[in-house]
């Protein structure tokens, strides 16, 4: 596609529920990134994919968070047993390749609200 697409745009869920957030990167971009932006803060890195594999997952806060990219294109961020502290905007970005910011493009994010 022309840009990075994230769905849903907004998601409200109850504490303890499971959620999936989807990111569709720019066609041909091999690198994909997830960030979390809490209220009043800048985005914080969660995980980086190069192709199908998670090359760097050092930003995932705990084992309730997991992400996949099975075919090297669309990625899904999965959050189990959601907590109110997980409420944030989850941003996805993609770039032409890892280790570079060429073509680094962000999506508009998913605003997750845990009630």
């Amino acid at each position: 596609g022309a840009g990075v697409s994230q769905t849903p745009s907004n998601k409200v869920t109850e504490k303890g529920k499971y959620v999936e957030l989807r990111c569709d990167p720019i066609s041909g971009h091999t690198a994909l990134y997830w960030y979390r932006q809490s209220l009043g803060q800048g985005p914080e890195f969660l995980i980086y994919f190069q192709g199908t594999g998670a090359a760097d997952d050092s930003g995932l806060p705990n084992d309730r968070f997991f992400a996949v990219r099975p075919e090297g294109s669309v990625s899904t961020l999965k959050i189990q047993r959601t907590e109110r502290g997980d409420s944030a905007v989850y941003l996805c970005a993609s770039s032409e390749m890892g280790g570079t910011d060429y073509g680094y493009t962000f999506g508009s994010g998913t605003r997750l609200t845990v009630v």
């Binding site: 960030y35 570079t100 508009s108 605003r111």
Partner: protein, 115 residues
């Protein structure tokens, strides 16, 4: 870990005037990249300007320019001839190759443009 500090939570400027947004960072590395991103209410992070640390010349993009002081670890953004469409959150960001698969962002500055 690298830290990026933006000490101005809010700034305002009269339309057609000039405003400068401040950013400082902390790193022990000599090779890195610095960025200013704009985030309008649509939430998408939009690249404003990029600076390579090994280049002494300050980057410019039309009405946007930076004052990069490597020794002082300072990277300010100057917006000239401010326009109503410049109103947004502005984030300073740092990235360090070769392991630089993630951006480190500051906490942002909210810019208001007064007609």
């Amino acid at each position: 870990a690298q830290t990026v500090t933006q000490s101005q939570p809010e700034m305002s400027v009269q339309e057609a005037e000039t405003v400068t947004l401040s950013c400082t960072y902390d790193t022990s590395e000599s090779d890195y990249y610095l960025f200013w991103y704009k985030q309008p209410p649509s939430r998408q992070m939009i690249l404003v300007i990029r600076q390579e640390a090994y280049k002494q010349q300050n980057a410019t993009e039309n009405r946007f320019s930076v004052n990069f002081q490597k020794a002082a670890k300072s990277f300010s953004l100057k917006i000239s001839d401010s326009q109503l469409g410049d109103a947004a959150m502005y984030f300073c960001a740092y990235r360090s190759p070769p392991a630089g698969n993630q951006f480190y962002f500051g906490t942002g500055t909210s810019l208001t443009v007064i007609p």
